[in-house]
């Protein structure tokens, strides 16, 4: 894995605080972290430990108060909100615990939306959707609306959507949190298989030891600090 030698994410001393009434609450405190290209990393920690905040920062959704964050060679802290949006659109994919599919769009259109945002031409988009739905085993559900799919099926659509534009990094927040064991196993396999096939980097926030074990490495947050790196 030659590409694993190049750092895809380099966070140096990043801190994020929030104002809570009259006092300031530090959610992430001076985090240093490097994630190599093609690496899969599980972020663990109790509820409120700062996992989602870290994912928001790594996913260019939020900006740190201090420190630097270089992702895919781009210093994210230098980017304004609009530039971060365009960065997210091109380089990142997201999978959520609550799936967050657009209920008014069909399965195929949920995936197509991301391809359109990335200006993929229609014929290529059609081919890519077919390919991805085949890969997640939902080729016969392209015209279905999300609300008639099972939780596992919805999450598979979400994975297809997240990978549709071949992002360099996949950010997943408790992707198996709402699924039963069998569905969780399927989703995990899919993530492994598809992200690895694309040579992508994967950051997964999880409580699950099984998910963590499937990753190359685990980090653990405790009260906003990085406690353990395995």
């Amino acid at each position: 894995m030659t590409r694993m030698n190049q750092p895809e994410i380099v966070a140096s001393g990043i801190t994020r605080t929030y104002q809570e009434g009259s006092r300031r609450h530090t959610v992430l405190d001076n985090i240093d972290l490097q994630i190599q290209r093609g690496e899969s990393v599980a972020v663990r920690g109790r509820s409120g430990s700062g996992k989602s905040t870290l994912l928001n920062l790594l996913g260019a959704i939020d900006s740190p108060d201090s420190g630097t964050l270089v992702t895919c060679g781009v210093e994210l802290t230098d980017l304004d909100e609009h530039a971060r949006t365009l960065f997210r659109r091109e380089k990142l994919g997201f999978v959520y615990q609550a799936f967050n599919l657009i209920p008014t769009l069909t399965v195929a259109d949920n995936i197509r939306l991301v391809l359109e945002l990335n200006a993929i031409v229609r014929s290529d988009a059609d081919a890519r959707i077919e390919e991805l739905l085949g890969a997640v085993g939902l080729e016969d559900r392209a015209a279905s609306f999300p609300d008639i799919l099972s939780g596992g099926e919805q999450q598979r659509v979400a994975i297809a959507r997240a990978l549709a534009h071949r992002p360099r990094i996949l950010i997943a927040d408790e992707p198996t949190g709402n699924l039963d064991d069998t569905a969780a196993e399927n989703v995990l396999e899919l993530l492994e298989q598809l992200v690895r096939a694309q040579g992508g980097t994967m950051v997964i926030a999880t409580h699950s030891t099984r998910v963590a074990a499937a990753c190359d490495r685990s980090i653990e947050l405790h009260n906003g600090r990085l406690e353990r790196v395995e």
Binding site: N56, I61, A98, N100, I102, T104, D147
Partner: protein
């Protein structure tokens, strides 16, 4: 202590302040509009009655004469020969001061004590007798109210100019009205009867003789000649007031429209709050709260909303009423009778009606969502999709009930004869029935629009359009509210436009002469007439006189015409052959009746109408109905020769001049106005036509104002719906932001959605708008005013309405779009 379940309800409302505020504003505007219209109507009516009461004073009856008035000799005869003291002569006319119209009452101060209690404020020397002395002695001496004098910038002792019959005369203000009734006498001046007779060219004539009779009036009546009649004073006042009844009913109906749209708003707000709290309601049901308790708590919220909105509406309505009062009183002055009213009188009954309407509206609108909340199964309350599906499944049934209501409206229209109230009720039933069909139409239409949207703007556009159809439980009511408001705009615009086109066509036919000449409010003298028709370019002339004939059955406006050969074609006969009708009209004791008159009094050719002539009651045969927009439904047309046989009135009010080919009408107008010593005003055909259409447009200003207010309520509905929708869509929009949609794209998405809402509303409004136009023209106008209008549908009006709906929706969606653009992508990460 407030029960926890109530606190749960109200804490929800408190957390959704925008939604709460918009619902309150919507219903408050509705309440404000009905209160304002009712206050304006009631104030105008009250001011008129108060003014008439003060002017009529102690008089129980009035003696009126023929078209010229009452012979002053009759007054002298009654007083001197028959020794009757309780009578007073009156001149009741109008003039202008500084371009403003004032009423004039000419009185004989010596006869007044028996009749009126006009008092004057003492002058600076404190000598009220000095005022009486001046009133009797000074030429042009006048009294008026302090407010009228202040508004003219004059005070006691000041001289001012009055204009009557195109001539100026000098008046002097000798004092101000005193006593309690002074506000009832605004824009009215009292002068000595001799002064009034001189100003209005009524030598030896009176407008009426006021009489006070205790008990039986038959002995007094027996003293009167054929040319005079005795009428009940109160009855005359009421008959005058009744003229404006249809006008006021129509205004009230228009004001109810704003409240109806307010109903949608409250319904929207309450049903949305139920949708959003399905989880809470599920928990409360699971914890043991009964259906009834859920129902009551939802209605309780609506009652609080209704209470706040109604109170706010009363305050706003009182303020708005002052603004509308000017428009209402101007229309009444233009169309019916002189009324001066500057202050809104806060009638407790009106305020109570507005309050009750607001409360009932709120409770009524909340009933369906409250029933729905109470009927939800606890397990279902947690599934939004099942709610949406249920709503979707209910749409055909809802639409079917809407069709049922519209059919009932059609039945009501067919069976209700001439009832205006039933006609207006049918209009509201049509609106309500159609409103129930709109969500289904919107759903089907949005579904069809989806593929088009995708072809044009890709998946993001499709997403925007799909959002409209799939969120009908929230967007549906906004679409309905806007569709109803826009359809009302289409209905009224098509009606007004059809009316305008009909009036314009009618003017084109009716105004046959090239130049019209009037005596500026006074009859044209014979010498002036001779001088005008002797002008070299004048080839023929018609003369006309508008004579009012009053008896116990009401007032008729007798249009007395001596037709020039070309003038006959100016009158369109609706139900008789012109070839045989016109000769009979010229020679027989016959009249033509205006279309509104024929409708109101159910008169048709061959019937006979009794008129009080100077020779006593005479029967006249109705030969035909002629087309006319006679607002008072009192017009009869009679030939000059027939009129002269029955009335001792040779006066002419107008001349219609027919010019030779290639004559310049402008030059003739100038020549007439330059005639030395003539009291004439000349106007070209074109100018009269333009002036008539200006008056027409002025009359409909208040209609426009009321429809703008109704549309304002609908816009609040869109804003409220879109904001409420945003609350539900935060996570979806956060996800889209995380996927890489820029703020601008999100704002564009929401704007597209609101634009589509506007477009669907606009399209949906077309059929209802056209049906409303048809009902307004064929039923409401006919029943209210008796005239018939040809319907003219201008594609421009339809296109403007759809465009207006889109723009209105886009404006209302602006803030929600900006708000959606500010949604942070991090929200998608949060656990539900």
């Amino acid at each position: 202590m407030i029960p926890v379940r109530w606190r749960a309800s109200f804490s929800y409302l408190a957390r959704h302040r925008w939604q709460l505020a918009l619902s309150i504003v919507g219903i408050a505007i509705g309440v404000a509009v009905i209160v304002a219209v009712d206050l304006a109507n009631a104030s105008a009516r009250k001011a008129f009655l108060l003014s008439m009461d003060t002017v009529t004073g102690e008089a129980t009856h009035q003696v009126i004469g023929g078209p010229r008035g009452v012979d002053a000799a009759l007054y002298r005869d009654l007083r001197v020969t028959h020794g009757i003291d309780d009578i007073a002569p009156v001149i009741d006319e109008q003039l202008t001061i500084n371009g403003r119209r004032f009423g004039v009452i000419g009185i004989d101060l010596f006869a007044e004590n028996a009749m009126r209690s006009f008092t004057a404020e003492a002058d600076s020397s404190g000598d009220a007798n000095a005022i009486v002395r001046d009133f009797l002695a000074l030429p042009g001496a006048a009294l008026m109210s302090r407010r009228s004098a202040d508004s003219l910038g004059i005070g006691p002792g000041d001289r001012f100019t009055v204009v009557t019959g195109g001539q100026s005369a000098e008046a002097v203000l000798v004092g101000l009205f005193g006593g309690d009734a002074t506000s009832a006498l605004d824009e009215l001046m009292a002068v000595d009867i001799a002064t009034a007779q001189a100003w209005f060219g009524m030598d030896e004539l009176l407008s009426r003789i006021d009489v006070r009779i205790d008990g039986d009036a038959s002995a007094f009546r027996a003293l009167l000649p054929d040319s005079a009649t005795l009428l009940d004073a109160e009855g005359r006042t009421q008959a005058t007031l009744d003229l404006s009844a249809a006008f006021m009913t129509n205004l009230t109906a228009m004001s109810l429209l704003a409240l109806l749209i307010g109903v949608f708003l409250i319904y929207n707000s309450v049903s949305f709050s139920v949708l959003q709290r399905r989880g809470l309601i599920g928990v409360l049901r699971a914890l043991g709260m009964t259906r009834r308790e859920i129902f009551v708590s939802i209605l309780g919220e609506a009652a609080v909303l209704g209470l706040l909105a109604s109170l706010l509406g009363l305050v706003a309505g009182s303020l708005l009423g002052e603004q509308l009062l000017g428009l209402v009183s101007r229309s009444i002055n233009d169309l019916y009778f002189r009324v001066s009213v500057t202050d809104v009188s806060l009638d407790p009954v009106t305020l109570a009606k507005g309050f009750i309407a607001g409360m009932l509206t709120s409770l009524l609108a909340a009933t369906i969502p409250a029933i729905e909340a109470a009927s939800l199964q606890p397990r279902l309350t947690l599934l939004r999709s099942s709610l949406e599906q249920r709503a979707g499944r209910a749409l055909p049934k809802v639409a079917l009930s809407g069709i049922g209501i519209m059919l009932a409206a059609a039945l009501l229209l067919m069976l209700s004869g001439r009832s205006l109230a039933a006609g207006l009720t049918a209009v509201f039933m049509l609106i309500a029935g159609f409103a129930l069909c709109v969500p289904l139409i919107a759903k089907r239409f949005a579904a069809r629009l989806e593929s088009l949207a995708e072809a044009v703007g890709g998946t993001a556009s499709r997403l925007a359009v799909a959002g409209v159809g799939s969120s009908l439980s929230r967007t549906g009511v906004a679409i309905v509210a806007l569709a109803v408001a826009v359809s009302a705009t289409i209905g009224v615009s098509v009606m007004v436009n059809s009316f305008r086109v009909s009036v314009d066509d009618w003017l084109g036919i009716a105004l046959r002469a090239d130049v019209y000449v009037s005596g500026s409010g006074l009859p044209i003298s014979d010498s002036d007439r001779q001088r005008v028709i002797s002008l070299p370019t004048v080839t023929a002339a018609s003369t006309s006189r508008l004579a009012r004939i009053e008896d116990a059955s009401g007032t008729r406006s007798l249009l007395v015409i001596d037709m020039a050969p070309d003038a006959y074609a100016g009158t369109t006969l609706l139900d008789a052959d012109p070839e045989t009708t016109w000769p009979a009209w010229e020679s027989d004791d016959a009249v033509l009746v205006s279309e509104p008159y024929a409708y109101r009094f159910r008169v048709s050719p061959g019937d006979r109408i009794d008129l009080r002539t100077d020779r006593g009651m005479r029967a006249f045969t109705v030969l035909a109905t002629y087309q006319s927009f006679d607002v008072n439904a009192s017009g009869l047309m009679i030939s000059r020769s027939t009129y002269d046989r029955h009335f001792d009135d040779v006066a002419i009010d107008n001349l219609g001049l027919y010019l030779g080919d290639d004559s310049d009408a402008g030059a003739v107008v100038e020549a007439i106005e330059a005639l030395p010593g003539a009291r004439l005003s000349a106007t070209s055909n074109r100018a009269i036509r333009d002036l008539s259409l200006d008056v027409f447009d002025q009359t409909f200003i208040i209609t426009d104002v009321l429809y703008w207010l109704a549309t304002g309520v609908a816009l609040v509905g869109i804003l409220s719906s879109m904001l409420a929708l945003q609350l539900e869509k935060d996570r979806e929009q956060g996800t889209l932001r995380a996927l890489g949609m820029t703020r601008r794209q999100i704002a564009g998405l929401i704007s597209t959605q609101t634009g589509v809402i506007g477009f669907i509303s606009g399209l949906a409004s077309i059929p209802l708008g056209l049906v409303m136009a048809w009902v307004l023209i064929e039923v409401i106008n006919r029943r209210a005013f008796g005239w018939q209008i040809d319907i003219t549908i201008s594609p421009v009006i339809i296109a403007q309405a759809v465009l207006f709906a889109v723009i209105a929706a886009l404006i209302a969606g602006l803030y929600p779009a900006l708000r959606a653009a500010r949604v942070e992508p991090a929200i998608a990460m949060r656990e539900e």
